[in-house]
């Protein structure tokens, strides 16, 4: 069922801009990032747009090279966008983090993928978690600092007496990530980017970390941008999902539609490759697309639809023209010529 061509963020005119910004904490429009390297220009992210609404978990799914991490880093300000806009709570923040006002830095934070290298190995947990408190002047002296850190560690279920003065090297992966989360929520931000927060963790620890994240989201009314390649995990955390391939978004839908009614061939390919445990899940996977080929290089992306070299349904137009977004059902958009 196809309806009017519309941009996935739901607005096409300037007046809709204002309306969308009221319910969205973060809006990304025409966001592009090209890196110049000695091999050529890497088209990491090309002209994507989406929004994250207050209090929701927005999922960004894709494999390596899809540009999802680059997108997260641009939102945080680690990279400056080549073009496009990032609007946070109505304010344009499309600049590098050093140029951003301190109040923005206080309001947004990130949890990195690798817990081991996201914590300074020569600093104690207290120093690591206490840093944001000190930088933003949230504590006046050492006593308040201790108290603040204790509260944060308790919030992520790490007993402070055991963990305050340890070094990261003595912690397990899940505990390190819990510390990273404690650090991320230290300034009571309203928005957190979660870049593959559990990819490096075992499954039993992952469950605990995810539960902690969900609990914190409820308590502190956080909005999350959840980046991962693990679809089973995404199913359980995100309310809306967008799938990226080679720098572009190809499908965009609320979670249950994304998984039950996937439309784009790449989405189907990804879903069909997920290793699952039960027959029930096995039968829910799409049958008509099997995974083939390798992910192309982002340096010279294929013309037209970037997925066409691997797509079993590719036609001549796919090789030439980039597809535009079409609305399948409310809130469900797909960019594909089919």
């Amino acid at each position: 069922m196809r309806e009017t061509t519309a941009s996935p963020v739901g607005f096409t005119t300037k007046s809709d801009d204002k309306m969308a910004e009221k319910e969205s904490i973060l809006v990304v429009k025409n966001l592009t990032k090209h890196f110049k390297t000695s091999f050529g220009t890497v088209h990491a992210v090309d002209n994507i747009e989406f929004d994250v609404r207050f209090g929701e978990t927005f999922g960004l799914v894709g494999e390596s090279g899809s540009g999802k991490t680059t997108t997260g880093y641009m939102i945080m300000g680690v990279y400056t966008p080549t073009s496009g806009r990032i609007v946070f709570k109505g304010q344009d923040i499309s600049v590098h983090v050093v140029k951003r006002p301190k109040s923005i830095k206080k309001d947004m934070s990130i949890v990195f993928q690798d817990p081991a290298s996201s914590l300074n190995p020569s600093k104690t947990i207290k120093e690591i978690v206490g840093l944001p408190l000190k930088v933003h002047g949230l504590v006046k002296d050492n006593v308040e600092l201790n108290k603040g850190v204790e509260e944060l560690l308790e919030a992520v279920e790490l007993p402070p007496e055991r963990f305050m003065d340890t070094l990261p090297g003595d912690l397990g992966g899940g505990e390190k990530q819990a510390v990273a989360i404690a650090r991320a929520i230290a300034t009571h931000p309203s928005f957190v980017v979660l870049d593959e927060p559990t990819s490096a963790l075992d499954v039993s620890v992952q469950a605990k970390v995810i539960k902690t994240l969900m609990k914190l989201q409820q308590e502190l009314k956080l909005s999350y941008l959840f980046i991962t390649h693990d679809l089973s995990l995404m199913r359980n955390v995100a309310s809306r999902v967008a799938i990226m391939y080679l720098g572009k978004i190809y499908e965009y839908a609320p979670a249950h539609l994304f998984f039950h009614n996937p439309v784009h061939p790449y989405t189907k390919m990804l879903l069909s490759s997920v290793p699952v445990l039960t027959d029930e899940e096995e039968t829910s996977k799409p049958r008509d697309v099997k995974s083939t080929g390798e992910v192309s290089s982002a340096i010279n992306p294929p013309p037209g639809c970037r997925f066409h070299p691997r797509c079993p349904f590719a036609t001549t137009i796919c090789k030439v023209k980039e597809p535009e977004f079409v609305m399948i059902e409310p809130e469900h958009y797909v960019a594909c010529h089919l």
Partner: protein, 298 residues
């Protein structure tokens, strides 16, 4: 402050103590894995103690001054003069002990000057890219390009030879190595997630340089400092050997070796014992340096 709070603080400080102890134990285990490192530690401690306690353990402390006892010259090692006497009749043992003091003092002064300057420049170059980085590193390159000893010789021969000038010359050619070392570590650490996290939180550059990156460089820096003690002493002794450092009658080990050279091989003990002393100090600190490096490796 109520009782519960007080108890909590006491318990926390006990935990801190035990963690520090834990840390020390781990470092010691890594250090002592190699027997040679322990030997080096002993040798280094002996050298340092000798240097510190020189005035009290030297049997003839007056022999380091302009005094002469020509009637006792060239005596073989004996109980009275354990290492014999030199061409001026002075007790070599006492002079060697004071020689330890001079050499180690020189090493200490040079390193205290060179390390902070070199490390800070390296940190700045490593964390701030662009013009500053280029300027600092190219200047360091220039100093490294000139052969160390040649530079020191050149400087010393232009200025009046003295211990002070020798130390200045050595310092001038030594600092770039620390800059390079710190620069390389800082550059690679700059891309680590924890540095980015600090940046994103909004920490100042000062904080990032000194509180995030520097602690992770300390291992390599400390290892280098320990090994450098030996090198500085060697270079310093070489300068004295050719007459450009300490002047007689200063009991510098290099000067002593030089002074006794002409009496070889008849009165061998005048040169040999100071030379052995130099070798002892350098060997000790080298072995110690290996151990320090092991401390920072798993």
């Amino acid at each position: 402050m109520n009782k519960a709070r007080l108890l909590r603080i006491i318990r926390l400080s006990k935990i801190i103590q035990s963690r520090r102890l834990e840390f020390a134990k781990r470092m010691w285990y890594r250090f002592s894995r190699s027997k040679l490192s322990l030997v080096g530690l002993v040798m280094a401690i002996v050298s340092i103690l000798t240097a510190l306690l020189a005035p009290w353990i030297a049997p003839h402390p007056e022999d380091v001054t302009k005094i002469t006892h020509f009637e006792r010259k060239f005596q073989l090692p004996s109980l009275e003069y354990p290492l014999g006497t030199d061409d001026y009749g002075r007790d070599i043992f006492s002079r060697t002990i004071f020689g330890f003091q001079y050499s180690l003092m020189m090493a200490a002064v040079v390193l205290v000057l060179v390390v902070p300057v070199g490390v800070i420049l390296g940190l700045i170059a490593g964390t701030r890219k662009g013009l500053i980085e280029t300027v600092i590193m190219r200047v360091a390159d220039i100093f490294i390009a000139v052969p160390a000893l040649v530079l020191a010789l050149a400087i010393c021969s232009v200025l009046t030879p003295s211990v002070f000038n020798a130390m200045m010359a050595v310092s001038l050619m030594w600092w770039p190595w620390y800059t390079r070392l710190t620069y390389h570590i800082a550059s690679s650490l700059k891309n680590e997630y924890f540095v980015q996290a600090a940046e994103l939180i909004g920490a100042s550059s000062f904080h990032i340089m000194f509180r995030e990156i520097l602690p992770n460089c300390l291992g390599s820096i400390l290892t280098k400092v320990t090994l450098d003690v030996g090198w500085v002493i060697l270079i310093g002794s070489s300068l004295s050997f050719v007459g450009l450092g300490a002047q007689p009658p200063t009991p510098d080990l290099g000067t002593m070796v030089a002074g006794g050279g002409q009496y070889m091989p008849d009165f061998w003990w005048v040169s040999i014992f100071p030379a052995v002393a130099i070798a002892f100090i350098i060997m000790g600190f080298n072995l110690l340096g290996d151990g320090v490096r092991d401390m920072f490796t798993e």
